[in-house]
Symmetry: D2
């Protein structure tokens, strides 16, 4: 009897885990760590249901990959068992390099090293441990394999990563604006000239997908209170890094200590394998635990920020289409300096402005192509009968300012 493990998923019902290397990878501590990293970081401060983890997302994306491969095969696309398994592995591990509260802390904890870099490091380490069985998966992940569509399923503007995270984030936040027809989209996938394309009758599902993604950006990922929480967290990490140099007795969990007390370059990270081991122990719990302790730290800036974070007393945030004038920001900063007794240098922990962009579909990147029954292939933005679909290519930019509640 063939053994298969079944995992309950509130979205797809059941996710079937094939026996063999995939099951072993899921059991591996590197992968289990993803259970302790929330997919949407501090977003649960706004949407309390959004506490789903990267672990769950990775499983979900693998499930959709399985469905996508089944669909492609049913349409006559040749995919060997090894290729199928490797594509499943590639998507399973695509986010394994994420640190806690990423992307928020991506550049706070380890400077100049992206989560994709770390994912690659993890995959190579696992490839050694599993005696080369991940070689093809790594090739697919890096787009070095001849069947380009396999990489495009893992990473493109219409990959199973996006299909799962939009579906999952919508489900757990309860924001119905993000609902997409992931199953219909998958059923409409096919391959033309070696590339992933969408059958013409799926074009409305693609439109819906693009728009849902844009709405999710404004309503969830870049929600002003989410921005506020992210900025607060970044500021806490910045402040504690400033203090770390002088304060040897600073409480910090061992896993976080490695990265807090050392300024690591990308090169060091690549050359010192023990750093990856240390990273493999770092997760959301280290950050929250440390912040809880810092609530009583002597530094009034650090302790204030930490109290705000833990008790969800976030910055007030105003967001608009035009930049804030320097005067406006300066005005707020002066009030804050006065009220919180902070210097001009440190007031940036209390009042600051920044911008965000929402670039939902880019004709610069690999495009979403539509294939017609007659074989003609066309970029999605041209194929749409929505004459203005090309307009979605525009990048939208917004500006925001943050300041303590009760300041004005």
């Amino acid at each position: 009897m063939i053994k298969r493990k079944i995992i309950n998923d509130p979205i797809y019902g059941f996710i079937t885990i094939p026996d063999g290397i995939i099951f072993k990878l899921i059991e591996h501590p590197y992968f289990q760590r993803l259970r302790r990293i929330q997919q949407l970081g501090i977003t649960s401060l706004v949407y309390p249901g959004a506490i789903h983890t990267r672990f769950h997302h990775a499983l979900g994306a693998m499930h959709l990959m399985t469905n996508a491969i089944e669909t492609l095969r049913s349409k006559g696309v040749a995919i060997t068992d090894e290729e199928a398994e490797s594509a499943q592995i590639a998507i399973l591990l695509h986010d394994i390099g994420h640190g806690p509260f990423s992307h928020i802390l991506e550049h706070s904890i380890v400077n100049g090293i992206s989560h994709e870099d770390i994912s690659t490091l993890f995959m190579e380490r696992l490839n050694k441990e599993f005696k080369g069985k991940l070689t093809l998966a790594i090739k697919i992940f890096r787009n070095q394999y001849s069947k380009k569509f396999l990489h495009q399923l893992v990473s493109s503007q219409l990959d199973v990563d996006r299909l799962d995270y939009l579906t999952r984030d919508t489900f757990f936040t309860g924001v119905s604006e993000g609902v997409i027809g992931y199953d219909r989209i998958i059923k409409m996938l096919t391959v033309a000239n070696g590339n992933l394309v969408v059958e013409a009758k799926g074009i409305y599902s693609i439109e819906k997908f693009i728009i849902a993604r844009r709405l999710m950006y404004w309503q969830v990922y870049l929600h002003k209170t989410v921005l506020s929480g992210m900025e607060l967290l970044v500021n806490i990490l910045k402040r504690v890094k400033e203090l770390a140099d002088e304060d040897a007795g600073l409480f910090v969990t061992p896993a976080l200590a490695v990265f807090l007390f050392n300024k690591l370059s990308k090169k060091e990270f690549f050359n010192h394998p023990e750093l990856l081991d240390a990273f493999a122990l770092l997760d959301d719990y280290d950050i929250v635990c440390s912040i809880k302790v810092w609530m009583t730290h002597d530094d009034p800036i650090l302790s204030t920020l930490c109290k705000w974070f833990i008790n969800r007393n976030l910055y007030k945030t105003v967001i608009q289409s035009k930049p804030f004038s320097k005067a406006e920001v300066k005005n707020l900063q002066e009030e804050a300096m006065d009220k919180y007794k902070v210097s001009a240098k440190d007031v940036r922990y209390f009042v600051f402005s920044d911008e965000v962009t929402n670039d939902v579909y880019s004709t610069q990147q690999v495009r979403i192509n539509i294939v017609y029954p007659n074989g003609k292939i066309m970029d999605f933005t041209k194929a749409s009968d929505n004459l203005n679909a090309s307009a979605i290519n525009t990048v939208t930019r917004k500006y925001f300012v943050c300041y303590p509640k009760g300041l004005v």
Copy 2:
């Protein structure tokens, strides 16, 4: 103890029917007739789940009206109990004038009279029967009442009618592209200067609503196979009307006979109350029953079309953005004349072309207005950060040609 009737609704869970006149209206034969008219006519030929009725939609819209009124009241908008009940009645009866397979047969059964006209006739009749208790409801329905927002809840570009039918049609077809956040939209409604407006933080829900509606048009309401079925039905009715003059023995259900054997003008309809009584007995069942019998009619055109309809052997339909050339259509018609032995005059029952338009949001009609915390009011297309939201104002037009399967 206050008596209330509860009806199970697979979408909203439960719909509470207030005791009193609303309960009595729902029990009335005029309203019960809506049980026998499918909301989406022949759409179930494409989406087998779409067999929900106008009865259910009317109850659902009334439920949303109840919620909308509750929301508005909670925001301090003054609405008396009489106004609330009248708004509920107005939405409950807004579609009571629909005939079978409307809008398809709107102009086949009764010429030059719209379902709104008939709805008005029914409401007036009921108003007499209920001794004037519908007077305010009729005023609201006709936009003759001072509190304009009540009419706008019944009929505008963001009314509870649309909120319910999009939600309901999506649910029963299973087309996830049409999912809207009806509950969020309702929670965001408010009143400014006597008009219905939407709070600024609801703007993404409105975008989603507009786009979902457009997608539902292409994917469901104007789906090419749905068009094919509608055209077939219209052709059957046209043909039988041609034959009716000569064929006194034609089988037809009594309710349909009234309208088939007489060419009624709007004026006659208004002047002869017994015609409304006859209309009140007409529903989908009369049409389908008659068509089933006509499958064996002597006229080969009628019998052929009826067999196609009953056995779901619909026209093949090609749809495109450009008109079909006369030559293309003529070519097909000549083949059909040959194959089906029909005259040049009658070939239009077999081959024809037509167009459809999708005009999802119109700045010509009462607009959807967004209200900001500072009180500023702005048209939705300007308020949206989607710089091209104004583009959705464009009317999209498509062209299609229908011909018998196996012709080419």
Copy 3:
């Protein structure tokens, strides 16, 4: 490219129709007729969403069959492609013999002939038309094939028929008490000693399934208002059959006329193939259309009952665990005789009592067996840790009396 047809299903998302004979069977007029027969007959008078058809149920059950076969194969159960297709055909056609408003009219329209008999006739007819390609499907349907588990998937106490109808009826009625974990149950199916069994870890899903079915009986299938509507319909048919003998001019649709004006025995039905042709044209529409016309029939009993039916003015129904005394019923009948001016013989159209039973799991029939990891097989009622699971074997009986509203 392999062609496959996809149908939207609001429950399962998509149902894939394999090309070939299955697609052709679905396109066949015999099968298309099921579009015009509601799965739950008059139940939509109580649950307005419950207007789903036998067509949709048959497709859904076929979909679950496909999943079940996939699961069994993944566990190493040998099923050839021909067997798989035949099992799909068997479930697709299992209900094709249903007449309108069955089971309600099963014995009103054709005496002494069950819908299973008629299904068999249809299958044999189709088998001829498709040159023997249904032979294996018919064997499976009749439990004459060696692999018993295939028949058990089609018809047993845990077949895909029940899995689909419970899920579908729950979905469309909105009665959450009937929700079952159909996907989990299917994933837990396996085969032992040639019989369908359930893996031990699925036992709670089976308990839930059994109980959900029992609750659906009381809350939907045998709901007192549903009973009331069914009895009214049966009475109408009885009355019109009484009148048919004398009244040659009685309006009746041609398809219904065949069965109304002739008293057909099972033997006649089997010997006269044209009767099956006639039956193939009979559906809900004939019944409702005829009843609408009978509302103005001269016979006051018939016209009264028909008006009640069309305008949903159903009998008042009282249901209880003990039989009603003869005196209670007689009392009501006397009042009815007086009020409606009917004879003692005819009063049974107005006042009557009857009983219903709910026999949810029977140890007399093929049982649901649970298989343990050690290979041990046990009847579900013994395997359950719910010490009283065996109790569910008990038949529950209820008694009801119907009488006109406003009588007492």
Copy 4:
């Protein structure tokens, strides 16, 4: 304009937070702490979606309380605004005394003090802070208020706590066996003789609720792998408490240190207000962070257990209806002593047996009563037509043994 805060909830759509004290209580650090305590503790090791928090559950239960009060008022039950608000507060705070991973650690962290005791302490503290505004809420919570039904809504065998947690746990685990008709149940609530009762037509919903709860116990709350994880966690805490006495340098987060290094009696807890302050800082993060560090502790037992926990290498668990014999357990223990080099005293950290009970409905506690249209009131188990409903009163007991994977 009346201000109300709206929170997205993936289950109910939106939860409206009334302005005033309830909003302030939710913003309070004591309540915000519940964001960092998962509702189902380690259950997410089995059901990865089950990471919802006590914060979310408390909001959900408050939402259902609001609905329940609205239903009761609509049936004429007198409830003042103050009573309504107090009932909302009581349910909002009913679980505020829960510590991390409760109930698992209820007796590991603080001996002999229940979470209800701590909830009471928190409520009294908050009552002081809010100048007596919680007095009525506390009375309702403690069942010291004359309108008993208000307490029964907060805590009884059919309270909004259970309605929310069953619904929520089902939603996040994806275990459909637990689906209940919470909205129907609430609509069926009423009050008779001052007590909460259910209208007779809701009886099937109650049956479903009772059974769903029982199934959730076996399938989720007492799932053998969940038991395994809980036992592992309890053992870790036990072991570290043993070591704490000797090992002053043991890493432990400050909040946890208070409770780990001191053996606190209930009396001490009540008399030292600063202990409640310390407790208010303790959450899941302290436990997980500390366990991660203990993975490298010198004590091989502690480090082994902690590695198992973090890497989800749980005990293998066998569960059955009969107790395990002493010999069976001893046998396993001897193998473990040998393999892990542990003493007879310490082997209980590796191999042990225990039992669990599932007591779903108790006739000893306040019963669920059904009220009939004629005013008669009956215990649910007697009212059910399921003749064996009384059987659900039985307590089911199961026995399990845990041992390291790969031992046998």
